[in-house]
Subunit: 428 residues, 2 copies
């Protein structure tokens, strides 16, 4: 109890994200204990900052009767963040706690998918009619300026977005000046169904604290502020990192063993199929392996050099696709360059490995066989490293997730068949 | 020429980052051509936004005599971003173009490493003495407010940071009110030698457009704004993604073949050593392989299941380390949980694979041998998946870079030795 009192007083000075990060790092029983001891008025804010999987543990541990109190200050944005983790009836409970305006915001946001900007809008806006003057702007600013809001949006009578004026322009100008004389040139306007990661990058580099978001008929829906944008981008990157191991970004450090095992089993199963496929190809050369056991000894070298070379190309292309830098216009040039790089590294390492194999097994033909197999596999890896992610992207499959497993299958099979095939030709 | 004129006019409406991204996506000759056609007053800003490797191509293509014109508006921040890409004498040239104040900023920043906040400061500040009033604040704001600046910093007579006041607080208050009555509680103050990624995360979640940065004696050095913070975090993530394939985040889509081959050769070489090590272990069982060729056929299955299971644990732990969620306090609990997950998946897949092998080779003993080897390797992979990154982190080696190659070496060797060793015991 003493211990937990110390922790709680230390947490009092930490922001919500820091508390969320700490909760995620605790084993389940400790996490639930600390959560129960957390001051009630912080619980909702902390929950919103957590990743889904660790959060669901706490949601399951919260009694049905406690939700009403937790939802006393809930806003549409909080509910949007939490709704996928909450049971349906709790979502309804929370929705009922929203005031009429927040309910409208919530309904508007759920019209958009969660990879669209419209889902992540902020509705705290400074808005004035197109004919407003500096005087009106100053009055508005003196009342209340929302977080990360550095412009006033001007709308026409139908609520369509027309232009934006920086707050700092307004302070410096005489009261009678019309705001339209102070508007920003070239401010990017986002659409509600813009893809959220790209839109977020535009916010990050705009130099504004937020960009306006409109619907198809140019009606102002809200704004995407730089905090939401940064969170969306961080999530995008985290998804990429986790995808390389077939996991998603919500994976909990301490999820229950059964759940965690289930999450990972699919990836292991897919990998098993590809491994058996590779084995089946090796099996075609059983007779060769029986006679030249050195081939079995050196198989991993051929497969792994191809795998590494291929994953280097793959990683570069996947990043290029994510940044919008790989397109039909430069695909051919990219392919040629990667083939050249593969050729250079292929020749170098093929010779090195051939020489080592020769001295190890004192067999010049074996050295030549592995030399050719490595060269062939590294060049094939470069080809696959470009083609696999480009094809996946074309079919709208995330290359960060599926790219490496497909690529490794290709390099394993090409490597084994080239090595054992050449071995059958030259060594029997 | 028509074509390039069209591109150039399209670029006129794009921001500097978009132009930088486009330049990076072009093959070298096209990149240099477009760069030469770019309006001179945009060149420096675009260059600053590019990644180092693709940028260096353009730097090399710029005539020595052109630099003076390019540097006519250069500021300390630009030079700090570019200096690692520029030859020393060009850095001196640029430094000479800075005014006295910018030179001072530049020297101050280079006192800090580029993984410290002090290196990435913005020096455009709103600063007032501690006894200033709202009237003084308003006068300051009306003159000029820098980008992403939502607070005025108050300093004492020795230039030490005391507190911050939100600009929006100032508009709403009568002119005679002392600013100290409006100060923000709990604003985080960064130190110049704070680690830059962590500090940037603090800026992102602070709700402010920038946080103040001080030196050891609390003297105000500058501020870290949310644009710089977001760029630093994006770079951190990109580094992690690229590190999984042994590359760095500056790798150019179209770097010259020789350079690209050299960049990747080291990683291939390290991988080759580990592959030969695995082969050497296989070589210990040559006699067994000669008699039971099915072992050679199934080897990739054992190795790859261990590799995948291990990399799942590794990826989770590496993220936990980066977020500060893995510590001596929860390491043991984490290890136990991962061993349990490994145990569950190990048993499931060991049985599946054992049954498949039994039917494939109609050999019950072989089925049992691979079943045990898989179980053993998946559990060892869980152990290594926790221990390897934790140890690397302790020795200050980046686990995102070196973790996977070490882990795969462990799972390969454990898998081969377990499988072939058990095969030797039971199948000969």
């Amino acid at each position: 109890p003493d211990d937990s009192a110390t922790i709680l007083s230390a947490l009092a000075s930490q922001d919500d994200t820091a508390v969320a990060t700490l909760l995620e790092s605790l084993p389940v029983e400790h996490r639930i204990k600390l959560w129960q001891d957390l001051p009630r008025d912080r619980k909702l804010d902390v929950l919103v900052e957590m990743r889904s999987d660790p959060r669901e543990i706490l949601i399951d541990a919260t009694a049905e009767t406690d939700w009403v109190a937790l939802f006393s200050d809930i806003e549409a944005e909080d509910l949007l963040e939490l709704m996928d983790s909450l049971p349906n009836r709790i979502v309804h409970l929370a929705y009922a706690e929203l005031d009429a305006q927040q309910q409208r915001f919530f309904r508007a946001a759920t019209q958009f998918d969660d990879d669209e900007v419209g889902h992540w809008l902020t509705h705290d806006l400074l808005v004035l009619p197109l004919n407003a003057k500096v005087r009106d702007g100053l009055r508005l600013i003196r009342r209340n300026v929302p977080r990360h809001c550095d412009t006033i949006f001007l709308v026409n009578r139908s609520g369509q977005f027309s232009a934006a004026v920086r707050l700092t322009q307004i302070f410096g100008s005489p009261e009678h000046v019309p705001l339209v004389e102070l508007i920003e040139d070239n401010m990017t306007v986002l659409k509600g169904n813009d893809e959220s990661t790209n839109a977020s990058l535009q916010v990050q580099r705009s130099g504004y604290a937020a960009l306006p978001v409109v619907d198809d008929s140019n009606k102002l829906l809200g704004r995407l502020d730089i905090t939401s944008a940064s969170e969306l981008i961080n999530e995008f990157y985290e998804r990429q990192v986790m995808a390389t191991a077939g996991m998603d970004e919500d994976e909990d450090l301490f999820s229950p063993v059964a759940k965690s095992a289930r999450n990972r089993a699919l990836w292991l199963g897919i990998n098993l199929l590809t491994a058996f496929l590779a084995s089946w190809f090796i099996g075609l050369f059983e007779a060769t392996l029986q006679q030249v056991v050195a081939l079995a000894v050196l198989m991993p070298v051929v497969a792994s050099m191809g795998g590494i070379a291929g994953s280097q190309t793959l990683t570069l292309i996947v990043r290029g696709l994510a940044l919008g830098q790989v397109s039909p216009a430069n695909r051919k040039a990219l392919m040629i360059k990667e083939l050249k790089v593969g050729g250079v590294n292929g020749v170098i390492w093929a010779v090195v490995i051939g020489v080592v194999a020769y001295f190890w097994f004192t067999d010049a033909l074996l050295g030549m066989v592995i030399c050719l197999a490595i060269l062939f596999n590294i060049v094939a890896a470069a080809l696959a490293g470009v083609l696999v992610p480009v094809m996946l992207d074309k079919f709208k499959i995330d290359p960060a997730l599926s790219g490496s497993v497909i690529l490794t299958t290709v390099t394993d099979i090409v490597g084994f068949v080239a090595f054992l095939g050449l071995g059958t030709l030259f060594l029997l």
